[in-house]
Amino acid sequence: MSNIRLIARLDIKGPNLIKGIRFEGLRVIGSPAEHALRYYQQGADELIYIDSVASLYGRNNLSDIVQSAARNVFIPLTVGGGIRSTDDVRHLLRCGADKVAVNTAAIAQPGLITEIAREFGSQCMVLSIQAKQIAPGRWEAYTDTGRERSGVDVIEWARRGVQLGAGEILITSVDREGTRKGFDIDLVRTVAAEVNVPIIASGGMGSAQDAVDVVRQGHADAVAMADILHNKRATLAEVRQHLKSAGVEVRSYES
C-alpha cells in the first residue's frame, strides 16, 4: 500500500484563504500563497484548493492562485469549485493543477465525470462529495458548498461516480466540517467499502489522533486538514509524527 497522504485543504473566497464551520460563517484566515508555501515546506503531501463560492457564480476563480502556487510549491495540487466542462479542466491543468475536484456540476450532469476521465485520465478526476447525515448509515449529497440538497444518496453516488470514471473521492462531512469533533468515521468507512478508489477524508479533524482513527477505522487513504493547520493547533510535522508513532505509514519527510 502507499503511504497515507497528509493533505492541506485550502478553502478560498475571492483572494482569501477562509474557513467556516459547516461551510458557514466564513472567516478570513489570510493569504493562500503564504499558507500554501508554509504547508509545502512543512512537508504536506498534497494541497487541495476549493473555491467556496464558485458554484454560486458558475465559475472557478482560482487560476491566479493556482498559477502562483505552482511557482514554488512542487507537490500535487487539486483544484475544485465551479468546474463545469472539460475546457474548465484544461484551463486549470494549464495553470498548474494536477487534478480537479468536481461536485455540483457532476450531480447535475454525471456524464461530465466520464468526459473528464476520458480526456485527462481517471486519476485527474476527483469526485467531491459533500455528505450530510439524514439517518443512521445514510447520507445525502449536498451541492454548492454544502448549501443545497440534491436528494442523491451518498453511497449510491460514490459507486456510480467511480463507475463513470472518478479516480478518487474527496468525502467531506458537512456535519463535521470546521467543528473539530473528529471525522465522520462511519461515512468514510461506508464509502471506502463501496468503491475501489482512494478516499480522502475531510471535515472535522480536531487532533492528530482523529487522523489515526479515520485511517484505522474509516480506511481513509488520505486525510484533509484545514482548521487544525490554519489555526496552528498542530503542525504537519506533529501530525506526521503522531501517525508514525501509531504505526500508520506516512512519507518520511525531513524539513
Binding site: 502507499s2 512542487f74 507537490i75 485527462f120 485520465g121 482512494p198
Partner: protein, 215 residues
Amino acid sequence: MSREITLIDYGVGNLFSVARALEHCGAQVSISADPDEVRRASKLLLPGVGAFGNGMQRLSEKGIDLAVTEAVSRGTPLLGVCLGMQLLLDSSDEFGLGHGLGLIPGKVVAIPEHTADGSRLKIPHIGWNGLVLPIGRKGWQGSLLETTPVGTPMYFVHSFMACPDASEHRLADCLYGDTRVAAVIGRDNVWGAQFHPEKSGEAGLKVLRHFVERS
C-alpha cells in the same frame, strides 16, 4: 551541455508546473507544439496527464510523434513523465489497444487490482512511494537517479504501468502491494519517469536537475 529544454505541448499536459519546476532547476524552457521546433530541440521533455489513446492521437495529429522519434534517433535527450513515459513504449491496453512511440520496447498494461493473496489494491495508484532497485540492478550510477538514495519517496498517480521487455531498460521500481511498478525506465538517450518529478518536492527536483545539467 545545453540547459535549453523544449517542453512538448500536445494539449494534455500539466505544462505550467513542469515548466516551472524545470526553470527552478536552471533550465531555459520553451513550450512548443511545432514539429520543426521539436526536431531542432537540444533536449525534450514529454509531459502528459491522461489517457494513452488520446495522448497518442494528439501527438500524431500534429505530427509531433515523428518529430520526436527523429530527434531521438539523432541523439537528442528525451525525458517522458507519467503518460509521457508510457507513450515511449510500443503499445497500451488502455481503452483498447493503442500504439505508442516505440522508443523503448514493451507495453503498457493496467495495474493488477489484486495481490497474490487476493487482497484488493486501490486503483489508481495515488501517493508517495519509495524508489527501489529492480531485480538484478546494483545501483543508479550514471543514470538520472545517480544522486537519489534508494528508498526516496516520489509522487505517483496512475492506473496503468509500463512493462519494458528488457530488464536493462528498467532503472527503478516501486512496490504497490506485491506488484513491481516500473518507476524509471531508460534506453540510451531516452528516459521515462512514472512518478511526477515536478510534484515530488525537493527529491523530484533533484532528478529534473540531473536531466537539465547532466544528460
